[in-house]
Amino acid sequence: MLSADEGSVMAVIEARGLGKSYGGKPAVVDLSFTVEPGSVTGFLGPNGSGKSTTMRLMLGLDNGVGTTTFDGMPFVGLRDPIRQVGALLEAQPFHPTRSARNHLRMLAAAAHIPPTRVDEVLELVGLSSVAKGKPKKFSLGMGQRLGIAAALLGDPHTLVLDEPSNGLDPQGIQWMRQLLRSLAAQGRSVFVSSHLLSEMALLADQLVVLGRGHLVATGPMADFVAANARTQVVVRSPDMPVLGPALESRGATLAEQDGAWTVGGLSQTEVGDLAHEHRVRLHELATQRATLEEAFLDATGLSQEFIGGPVPRGGGEAVPDEPAGGSGGVETAPDPAPSGGATVAPDPAPSGGATAVPRTTREGQR
């Protein structure tokens, strides 16, 4: 297994002001973030948001603006870089007829890594049986495992991995997750990109969220979810014509789907107490936690993009499917955006529109 040199496995990645344009079109704009050791930092963004470009800038493969340092040193200045930073980039860089073992031996030769270590990492990624196999005969997943073996070859304190679970089967993805978590637990810095939210939700402690080349948020995953998608209470009741107005008079927002009402702005306890006050029957009362996906869609503004133009806001706007006669005190400015099945984003701050969410998040996290 990997051996962590106690004490020396501490490395901070600091990216400052990264930027890159392709033919005048900005791909990454003024991107700054920090990756701390001892945790998995997820680099999240839709396809085409600039994640790969950012990683290439960090490793000095692309020319652009800004600096990235690994323990204070830019990548190009590192001595035996693969002993310090293990990298996996999107397309697999293997000569089709050079065996897996020879590929790793070539990398090892540059950093005085003994050949025994090559067999060790092949064992670790489960490729021992095809060590002499040629990459042209490898599946996508096998290629990905070889790429991970290459990244781990120098037992580096920092890992920069672009979509490492690409092409892996479910078992492989789980293996990868456990591997990266254990590497982080040893005190290493693990920076891993993905466009798969469900994967990231299980893997990362910290997040760097990118949208269209811009930083959308950084900070702990839990904070990001809490800040970008509020928890809601789901209510089923045959007496909604009574309960609905009562909830709205307390400042709640309401939305109905398939007979279930989503209540925003009140806690489960408050809704239960209110139902009791009005002697209303409840068939269901549950708290629905926001998922990373919802938070992500909110933060990157993609939910809006897919729905269409901006939805008019203001006190007079009615919640869709509002029960008859229930328009009692709707001064609370409910957010009427019915995002296609994802989430109804109630907005407790009346001035804050959907577009303001990323901004407040960013400032709040820094």
Binding site: L89, P93, T97, R98, S99, M106, A109
Partner: protein, 266 residues
């Protein structure tokens, strides 16, 4: 720099193509040398040992045709950068050895040594076959023998390095390959023809002496061997001056390759 050299050396020797190039570079010329040596042995060339030796060892290239072994070993140079871009290896290379100047320098040095060794072995095997089969006409002690061998080794090395530079400049193996094959055999011939034939351009005729691959080929053409090319056009450069022209040409190509390689995104 040591890291880059070690990387490049393992890269080269773990490529299957390196070994078949080496085999071709030795075996194909050896076969031709054997045929030529047997051919001269049954003819009467007494007294022309130095000319016969030069013709046999270069498989006739001293008389003007292309030097076969140089085209084989040039593949080593073309692949040195061609594979980097063809298979995305450049990312593995630069995340292992991030200093691009080191990467390019290591490639130049390792390619030069590998090609020099391959062409030297090829020539020595040819010499051995010539000594065995030519009935004494191929002469290791002849004045020009070692000049021919040294010239071939130097020419092959510079030739391969131009292939390396072209692959780095175009980031395309096929483009570099086509250029390396056609530049000496077709492009330079067309330029020479244009410069020599019309009267109006007679004053520019001297330029044909400086066509780099042709000038470089003087390295292995002893002055006492008749050069068919010199029937037309001006007197060719001396071996050293010709070699210098090819050396400068190679240096310019490598400088362009370096400038582009350090500037571009990988």
């Amino acid at each position: 720099m040591i890291a880059a050299l070690r990387y490049e050396w393992v890269r080269l020797r773990t490529l299957r193509s390196t070994w078949w190039i080496a085999a071709l570079a030795v075996l194909v010329p050896a076969g031709l040398v054997a045929l030529l040596a047997i051919n001269v042995s049954i003819n009467d060339f007494e007294g022309f040992e130095d000319v016969v030796t030069a013709v046999v060892l270069t498989q006739g290239a001293v008389l003007g045709p292309p030097l076969l072994v140089a085209y084989v070993t040039a593949l080593v140079g073309v692949f040195a950068f061609g594979h980097e871009y063809r298979h995305g290896m450049i990312r593995a290379t630069l995340t292992t050895v991030p200093r691009r100047g080191h990467v390019l320098t290591a490639k130049v040095l390792v390619t030069a040594v590998a090609v020099a060794l391959m062409s030297l072995v090829s020539m020595l095997v040819g010499l051995a076959l010539g000594l065995l089969l030519s009935g004494g006409l191929v002469d290791a002690g002849a004045a020009t023998t070692w000049q021919v061998i040294g010239g071939v080794v130097a020419y092959c090395t510079l030739f391969a390095l131009t292939g390396l530079a072209l692959a780095a400049i175009f980031r395309n193996q096929i483009a570099a390959l086509v250029l390396v094959l056609l530049a000496p055999t077709v492009v330079e011939q067309i330029i020479a023809a244009v410069l020599i034939i019309p009267d109006a351009l007679n004053s520019l005729e001297f330029l044909t002496r400086y066509l780099p691959y042709d000038a470089g080929s003087q390295l292995y053409k002893p002055s006492n061997v008749i050069n068919l090319g010199s029937f037309l056009g001006p007197e060719p450069l001396s071996p050293l001056a010709g070699g210098l022209v090819l050396l400068i040409f190679t240096g310019v190509l490598l400088a362009v390759a370096y400038a582009l390689f350090t500037e571009r995104d990988a």
